[in-house]
């Protein structure tokens, strides 16, 4: 099942996809509506702790001129960073480079502490698509990647769906891609993660307790490009969803 949180007729609703591709949604009250009738898409989960991975694809690490890390490079985000499907994200005035990052998002479904890799999938509720934008101009070498780069309001679209884990037989073999104004600029496979999903869950749960609603953004492959106001950016993961976003300029 694919789950969404939407606004329709001015009210927030929990909904599920009524067709395999989600052209129609079934609201919790039983009504079925067209996807085009949705007024706003919220992130499909109310997030707890939001983890994100840097340099988790070997090709991307190379692209950024970094050696692949020996332990996962993890950073955190606040809930302010998230926005939903079909939202806008602001490119600050005067910056030289803002890039998208198509990422598989893992949503935790159970309290988890010291979970071995072999049992890691048991604590996953489902998967979603994230676009973890970064403003390269603001990188500084203190707690890098720093929050000014990675925790900007609405600069991490998530959605449209939370896809039940049971419906994703192998999350480690999914094609990811990004299209900017319809042209494919980034493509890769979750197969090429340095630290795969079971490894990340085992690692994080060895450091701390994970809870339902916690989200792990698992990093991005190479193929980054600058995006500018007016650009339509689509991040897509096979079987998980297609997340639309539009870049807007600073007020």
């Amino acid at each position: 099942m694919k789950h969404a949180r939407i606004r329709y007729e001015g009210t927030l609703h929990a909904a599920t996809a009524a067709t395999p591709e989600g052209e129609a949604l079934r609201l919790a009250d039983g009504r079925v509506i067209a996807a085009d009738a949705v007024e706003a898409w919220l992130p499909p989960v109310e997030p707890g702790t939001i983890f994100a991975l840097g340099l988790n694809y070997a090709d991307h690490a190379k692209e950024l001129a970094f050696k692949p890390p020996e332990t996962p490079l993890v950073f955190l985000k606040g809930p302010n960073a998230l926005t939903g499907h079909r939202a806008t994200t602001t490119r600050p005035a005067g910056v030289a480079f803002m890039h998208y990052e198509c990422e598989l998002a893992v949503v935790i479904g159970q309290t988890a502490r010291d979970v071995p890799r072999a049992r890691a999938y048991e604590v996953v509720a489902g998967y979603s698509v994230a676009n973890d934008y970064a403003i390269r101009d603001y990188l500084e070498n203190y707690y890098r990647p720093n929050l000014r780069v990675k925790n900007r309001d609405g600069a991490t679209p998530l959605g449209p769906w939370l896809v039940d884990a049971a419906d994703v037989p192998n999350p480690m073999d999914l094609r990811l891609r990004t299209l900017v104004n319809g042209t494919e600029t980034q493509s890769g496979s979750t197969r090429d993660m340095i630290f795969d999903v079971p490894h990340l869950i085992a690692y994080l749960s060895s450091l701390m307790t994970l809870s339902p609603g916690d989200v792990i953004l698992t990093g991005t492959p190479d193929g980054l490009a600058d995006v500018r106001p007016g650009d339509q950016v689509v991040t897509e993961i096979e079987g998980i969803g297609r997340l639309d976003n539009t870049i807007v300029g600073d007020r």
Binding site: L76, G78, Y142
Partner: protein
């Protein structure tokens, strides 16, 4: 009833800050311009203490697997009474509903290049005192933060040492991220603070606040 009293206090995200005190910057000195940092910081340097770290007075903080000594950093948290986005320095303090003592407990690591998830995000590593209503008339710079281990003062700091005082810090942080009602932003911690280990009693004393007392428990097996 004011709007502030309707907001759940301190239940949101806790953002910590480093390098917001002159002594820490001075101690790093020329190192701020060397590898891996390359240049002194420009924007506030923030980190997050996620929900699994939050704890209250009387908490027992267990060192994570394999650790023995924990570093102690005392600070004061500004608890937001309303959402704050791009606030000006002049208006910033209007968004603050309360203050609370915060003891940021961490695994010692003198290097601040990568986000401190391993060091600062283990369970229970952010004991906090109750929220005290914020009095605009008070002078935060006059407050002294005194940390004791087993009764002996091991660190003492006056909030006159800030690089960005509260209003400036709020303005510079909310320029790029919203602080929501219930979130807290600390005024920053001093790096390389005192350490404590299993069995030690730690307290943070700030005039006008109840002492925040915690204990360091046995290491996690």
């Amino acid at each position: 009833m004011t709007l502030h009293s309707l907001i759940p206090q301190g239940s949101g995200t806790l953002y910590g800050v480093i390098l917001n005190d002159h002594p820490s910057l001075e101690r790093l000195g020329a190192a701020l311009s060397d590898a891996p940092y390359a240049a002194p910081p420009k924007a506030p340097v923030l980190y997050i203490k996620p929900r699994n770290t939050h704890a209250g007075p009387g908490a027992i903080v267990h060192p994570p697997h394999g650790a023995d000594r924990l570093e102690l950093a005392a600070t004061l948290g500004l608890v937001m009474g309303r959402d704050a986005t791009a606030v000006t320095e002049a208006d910033a303090l209007d968004a603050v509903a309360g203050l609370r003592p915060v003891l940021d407990v961490s695994l010692p690591n003198p290097v601040v290049y990568r986000p401190p998830v391993r060091e600062r995000c283990f369970d229970g590593s952010c004991p906090m005192g109750p929220v005290v209503p914020f009095d605009r008339g008070g002078d935060l710079a006059a407050l002294t933060l005194r940390t004791r281990v087993n009764g002996t003062v091991v660190a003492e700091r006056r909030l006159s040492d800030l690089v960005r005082p509260a209003a400036r810090l709020l303005a510079d942080v909310t320029a790029f991220m919203t602080l929501r009602a219930g979130d807290a932003l600390t005024l920053g911690i001093a790096l390389n603070g005192p350490q404590a280990g299993p069995g030690d009693r730690v307290s943070l004393e700030i005039d006008g606040f109840a002492p925040l007392e915690i204990r360091i428990g046995d290491a996690t097996p």
